[in-house]
């Protein structure tokens, strides 16, 4: 089962908190491969999280190296099992879209630099510090592991200038 269909909201798995992976066995390795195949097949896709293909497990893949936003600043292909963000700094707004929520985009604020620790499919623990678009993509995919969609994080429905109506 290489390329999997991307589930779309309102599929309930997308709003569920995914379970930690306790043992990296053959099933987990197949899941990682499915995520990679699905990511590569998606037009312009830079990441897929396991819940997006129906597996409520804390696994996601990210690769921004082929994206114009991330090609100069990335760690290549990341296969992350049980990822945890251990440090974050900065904040920037980017307009995001998601394959699980087609036809809608919105401005989301995320940390500009993150340190994320995760287990690789071969069992080694790895810690990286990502910034820029790669950091955004990792945070977006990791949100899927907590049942959070970018819709839950949209910061404004119009340009910030117009939010304050009264200056008294």
């Amino acid at each position: 089962m290489p390329i999997q269909p991307i589930l779309r909201y309102p599929h309930p798995v997308l709003k569920r908190i995914a379970s930690r992976v306790e043992v990296i066995d053959g099933d987990i390795c197949s899941l990682v491969q499915d995520l990679l195949d699905t990511m590569v097949a998606g037009p312009g896709s830079v990441g897929v999280a396991a819940p997006q293909i129906g597996a409520s497990l804390r696994v996601c893949v990210v690769d921004v190296s082929t994206s114009r936003h991330g090609r100069d600043n990335n760690h290549g292909r990341l296969c992350m099992i049980n990822p945890e963000i251990t440090a974050r700094s900065g904040a920037a707004v980017m307009r995001e879209g998601c394959m699980s929520v087609p036809d809608y985009t919105g401005d989301v604020e995320r940390a500009t630099t993150i340190t994320v620790t995760f287990t690789e499919p071969d069992g080694t623990t790895r810690s990286i510090t990502a910034s820029g678009f790669e950091a955004v993509a990792i945070q977006h995919e990791m949100d899927h592991l907590d049942g959070i969609l970018f819709l839950d994080r949209i910061v404004c429905i119009t340009t910030g200038l117009f939010r304050r109506k009264n200056y008294a």
Partner: protein
């Protein structure tokens, strides 16, 4: 979801702002069995403006929709306009284009919107969203315009910046161009 086989209408409702406009209008639409697809509602100075694309699952005439909504609008003191959409007009619009946010602000003067948008229109740049607001004091009014536009493939954001740089000097306003094309994740 919009689809091409159900009747769609563009409705605009504008009137003095007060609480209960959105709930009043949408209750009337709900009772008529209309579905609101895309909509945008905002406060402009003291006026509240609603623009909605609505559909109805069954054949439903434009005049009936107008007549059914009119009493609610009159009670709320709102103007009402209804237009039938052709099936192909109501379909969801997709774009792969680069999206730019163009900010323009400076001392208020006639023609800011016109001059900027004329440059864009002549290059087939499609405006998708536009807000303007008159701010500042009575003595020193400042005009602020924010617009989002889809660039045709042959026009780059740098070209837009260069084109608007001339206008910036001529009108003595600030003009900024930022790329806000959504990232697909």
């Amino acid at each position: 979801m919009t689809s091409s086989d159900t009747p769609h209408y563009a409705i605009s409702v504008v009137g003095k702002d007060r609480t209960g406009i959105v709930s009043g209008i949408t209750e009337a639409l709900y009772r008529l069995g209309c579905n609101i697809a895309d909509s945008s509602c905002t406060m402009l100075a003291g006026e509240f403006a609603m623009i909605m694309i609505v559909s109805h699952p069954r054949p439903f005439s434009k005049s009936r929709l107008y007549d059914e909504l009119r009493p609610t609008c009159e009670a709320l003191g709102m103007s009402l306009a209804v237009r039938s959409l052709h099936a192909d007009e109501a379909l969801r619009q997709h774009t792969e284009a680069e999206i730019c946010l163009i900010s323009v602000y400076g001392a208020d003067q006639p023609g800011i919107v016109y001059r900027v948008t004329k440059e864009l229109a002549s290059r087939d740049v499609n405006i998708m969203d536009l807000n303007t607001k008159l701010v500042g004091s009575d003595e020193e009014p400042v005009y602020v315009m924010m617009l989002e536009a889809a660039l045709p493939a042959e026009v780059s954001p740098e070209q837009i910046e260069a084109i608007l740089a001339d206008l910036k000097k001529e009108l003595n306003v600030e003009i900024g161009v930022r790329i806000v094309t959504p990232v697909s994740l």
